[in-house]
């Protein structure tokens, strides 16, 4: 296969920080080349150089054998390179066709936009990629996330894109949508499009990629052919040391029941949910997207109101469930969307950590700075939060893993009895995941009850002492440690109809 892109000896610094140091990368026609590494390994900078967002300090980029120098994004687009970022960039109120041809809509001879032609062309493009179930005149906002993602890809293709860069495209997709997207990627491959694929999910990488390049701390570690490598090898390349068992387990046995939820209802998303949690236990919550896990946790935390049902903490029925009250009583939640819900991104680490304990730190017009610094310092040290410039560093400059640690610090600072973690490892690199797993088991060992909501089966099975599975708003089963198998959990998550669906 011919090489279509080659990046040689790329070096880039931001201020004093060496972000990329002598990195290589090459891409062949029609292949999916995965780029992996922990957060901060330099993947994003690498693709931004290829997309013309940044210029390299040193090194060369070749497209189809000829050296190129991109001044901006348009230059790289003209060479057929397009990036699909994690955050979707469709205009929600515009139609599918308008979104596909945004910035290059066909014109009539009067210079007006030729709607008819645009819709016709969009239709044939949709059809070519087997997306005829999407109407070209549907509003982008009416599409599912996966469909929106595919429309973004079509937009790139309509610009004659031959090199497609996908940055964590599956981060917010359901399993079903993922398999659809993968089918779509295969079609693209067959048509000769070369794809750079960035993801934290190793199972996906094995499923979709032909080759894998690993970066670590801004350096090139190696490129492997996917069929000739395995999970262990890649992880040790990414982390730089042997990595056998990344899961830790709870040592003690669970204590008394601390939180009890009885008959919780809210719309179709939470239906008659009943469960309880004990001290010193890691209770897993598994379910596919839309199964009602997050919605249940939001009610417990006081963000949403239940239509009926009761919540008991240490035997006492909880009333007046405002978030503030719930936190005070000892239940904390690290929300699913850490950037929107967990953190005030433009503020510093210390500010965010003390946000849920303002009552303890600010008395009238006096801020107990000493105490605030001490608490922040304690958690920065305990959770090993890596910040370059101290407690005041804005959290939007931290990596995903470190941001998650700040969210958890904020939760722990409230000295909780029950900690609810909603997808705490999403978008977090493997080193930080390992640290989070250890923290979770330590919390449980110290007598805290941990509710661990996750969509990743391996961590649910290896980390939890007990698992509750939800499907369409209902609890479909409860499995103890000894009953935990991937098949069993999945069966319940699909509503107990595993044999029928597969």
């Amino acid at each position: 296969m011919e090489t279509i892109v080659e990046m040689r000896r790329i070096t880039k610094r931001f201020g004093d920080v060496m972000v990329l140091d002598d990195v290589h990368f090459d891409l062949r026609r029609g292949e999916v080349h995965a780029l992996i590494g922990e957060n901060g390994a330099g993947k994003s900078t690498m693709i931004k150089i290829l997309a013309g967002v940044h210029g390299a300090d040193k090194g060369e980029v070749f497209v189809a054998g000829a050296p190129v120098r991109f001044e901006n994004v348009r230059d790289s687009m003209n060479m057929g390179i397009s990036v699909i970022y994690q955050e979707l960039s469709l205009a929600p109120t515009m139609t599918v066709a308008e979104n596909i041809y945004l910035g290059q809509m066909p014109r009539t001879s009067f210079g007006l936009i030729d709607d008819e032609k645009m819709i016709r062309e969009a239709y044939s493009l949709l059809k070519r990629f087997g997306l005829d179930n999407i109407s070209p005149v549907a509003k982008a906002s009416s599409l599912s996330v996966a469909q929106q993602q595919m429309i973004e890809v079509l937009r790139a293709l309509s610009r004659d894109c031959r090199i497609l860069i996908m940055d964590e495209p599956t981060a917010s997709l359901t399993d079903k949508e993922i398999s659809k997207l993968f089918g779509f990627i295969k079609d693209l491959q067959d048509q000769g499009v070369a794809i750079v694929y960035i993801s934290h999910r190793m199972d996906e990488i094995f499923q979709i990629s032909d080759r894998i390049t690993v970066l670590r701390d801004g350096r090139y570690i190696g490129t492997k052919i996917t069929s000739e490598t395995d999970y262990e090898e890649l992880v040790s390349m990414m982390v730089g040391r042997e990595f056998k068992n990344i899961y830790s387990t709870v040592k003690g046995s669970p204590g008394d029941e601390i939180l009890k939820v009885v008959g919780l209802n809210r719309g179709t998303q939470v239906r008659n949910v009943t469960f309880s949690v004990r001290r010193g236990e890691v209770l897993g919550f598994y379910g596919l997207m839309g199964s009602g896990r997050t919605e249940t946790m939001r009610i417990i935390f006081g963000v949403d109101e239940a239509e009926s049902g009761d919540i008991y903490l240490e035997g006492n029925r909880m009333s007046e469930n405002s978030v503030r009250n719930v936190i005070k009583k000892g239940i904390v939640l690290a929300p699913e969307d850490r950037k929107e819900q967990g953190l005030v991104l433009i503020q510093g680490i210390r500010y965010n950590i003390s946000l849920s304990i303002m009552d303890q730190i600010i008395h009238g017009f006096r801020v107990d700075r000493e105490r605030e610094d001490r608490i922040a310092g304690e958690y920065v040290k305990m959770l090993n939060i890596r910040a370059r410039s101290g407690y005041e560093q804005p959290v939007n400059t931290l990596s995903g893993g470190n941001q998650q640690k700040v969210v958890i610090s904020k939760c722990l600072a409230a000295t909780p009895k029950v900690v609810i973690l909603d997808e705490p490892t999403r978008g977090v690199d493997i080193g930080a995941k390992h640290e989070l797993y250890r923290l979770i088991t330590e919390l449980a060992d110290s007598g805290t009850a941990v509710v661990f909501v996750s969509s990743e089966l391996p961590e649910i099975i290896n980390l939890c002492t007990r698992v509750i599975v939800m499907h369409e708003g209902r609890v479909t089963g409860e499995l103890s440690k000894s009953e935990l198998t991937e098949r069993g959990v999945l069966k319940l998550a699909l509503g107990g109809k595993l044999s029928a669906t597969k």
Partner: protein, 342 residues
């Protein structure tokens, strides 16, 4: 030893605040030096400097409230109209021989009540702040006209001390009041739960909810407080001019927004400071009065002010981005600006 450390921390914080404002102070200084040079030093005379402060004193009081509203991610367009309501009510009651104190309190209370209505609409209904306060702006102006019968209400002398008196025969009372309010507002914003809640709300509304912050209470208090400040400003104005003017504060909302924005408050919310707004107001006023001094025609004066507002904001943002040289900045513009840096 411990004392010493704490002392250091405190001076560090002060230095940091100064450093953060260094770009703005530089703009202010440059403007003042230019005018000082062009007026052969007359611009720097004490009397002129005090006049400068007096000219901004009433509008900054309002701008401090506006700053809080903008930090929460909102805006208050009704500030000018609330000033008019407070000044006409105050003057009207004095005209009817009410005791001065009662009249003053009533004027302030009227504006505070209207601010409370703003707060109610914004925190308890889905009406966005822009629309809620736009409605209030229209309605309150109507109230001021109705009460005054459309004409200025004259008050007898004797009430004018607050607006026209001097401390030590040199510093006007309005300046003192504005400075005191500035200090109180600064403390409120930086050292209280209320202040932190305001920043959290503007930084990320959802994160504030998930942190147990009472969003409704915070929003409500912010707009009520802004109304209260408008009340104070309106009453002082009535005292200073011996009259209640239904037209008072026309366009004051735009001046307040300009002061806040020049002072580094972000219209996107979550960022801003009281000191910044004060310096912002000073920059605009220095320009205004400097150009007057030089007999620059009014129209040119407006054009230059517009240019300087945009220029000052750009300059300050550039300094804060820490990109260093201007050439680096142009390069980043060429690459599609900061937005490409995710």
């Amino acid at each position: 030893m411990r004392q010493n450390e704490m002392g250091n921390i405190r001076t560090d914080r002060f230095q940091m605040a100064l450093k953060e404002k260094s770009g703005l102070l530089l703009v202010l200084l440059i403007l003042m030096l230019i005018f000082g040079f062009l007026t052969k030093g007359r611009f720097w005379e004490i009397a002129n400097l005090i006049n400068l402060l007096r000219a901004i004193s009433l509008s900054t009081i309002v701008a401090f409230g506006m700053t809080l509203c903008i930090i929460t991610g909102g805006i208050d367009l009704s500030v000018g109209a609330l000033m008019a309501v407070s000044s006409t009510y105050c003057a009207g009651l004095i005209e009817h021989n009410a005791p001065t104190l009662v009249a003053v309190l009533a004027g302030i209370l009227m504006a505070f009540a209207m601010g409370t209505v703003n707060g109610f609409l914004i925190s308890r209904t889905p009406i966005p702040p822009f629309i809620a306060t736009l409605s209030m702006m229209t309605a309150a102006r109507g109230v001021a006209y109705m009460y005054s019968g459309g004409r200025p209400i004259r008050t007898p002398t004797g009430f004018g001390a607050v607006g026209n008196g001097y401390l030590f025969d040199i510093i006007p009372y309005p300046v003192i009041i504005a400075l005191v309010i500035m200090i109180i507002m600064s403390i409120l914003l930086n050292r209280t739960k209320f202040g932190r809640s305001i920043f959290a709300l503007g930084g990320s509304r959802e994160a504030a909810v998930f942190s147990g912050i009472d969003i409704k209470k915070t929003l409500w208090s912010t707009y009520a407080l802004t109304g209260f400040l408008c009340g104070i400003s309106g009453v002082i104005w009535a005292s200073r001019t011996y009259s209640g003017q239904p037209t008072l504060g026309t366009g004051a909302e735009m001046d307040a927004i300009a002061a806040a924005v020049v002072g580094g408050t972000s219209m996107a919310g979550g960022v801003g400071s009281i000191l910044g707004t004060f310096i912002g107001a000073l920059i605009i006023q220095v320009l205004n009065s400097g150009l007057n001094y030089l007999n620059v025609p009014f129209y040119y004066n407006n054009i230059l002010r517009g240019v300087v507002i945009a220029g000052a904001v750009l300059f300050d943002m550039h300094r804060k981005s820490g990109r260093g040289s201007v050439t680096a900045w142009f390069k980043s513009l060429k690459r599609g600006g900061d937005s490409a840096d995710k």
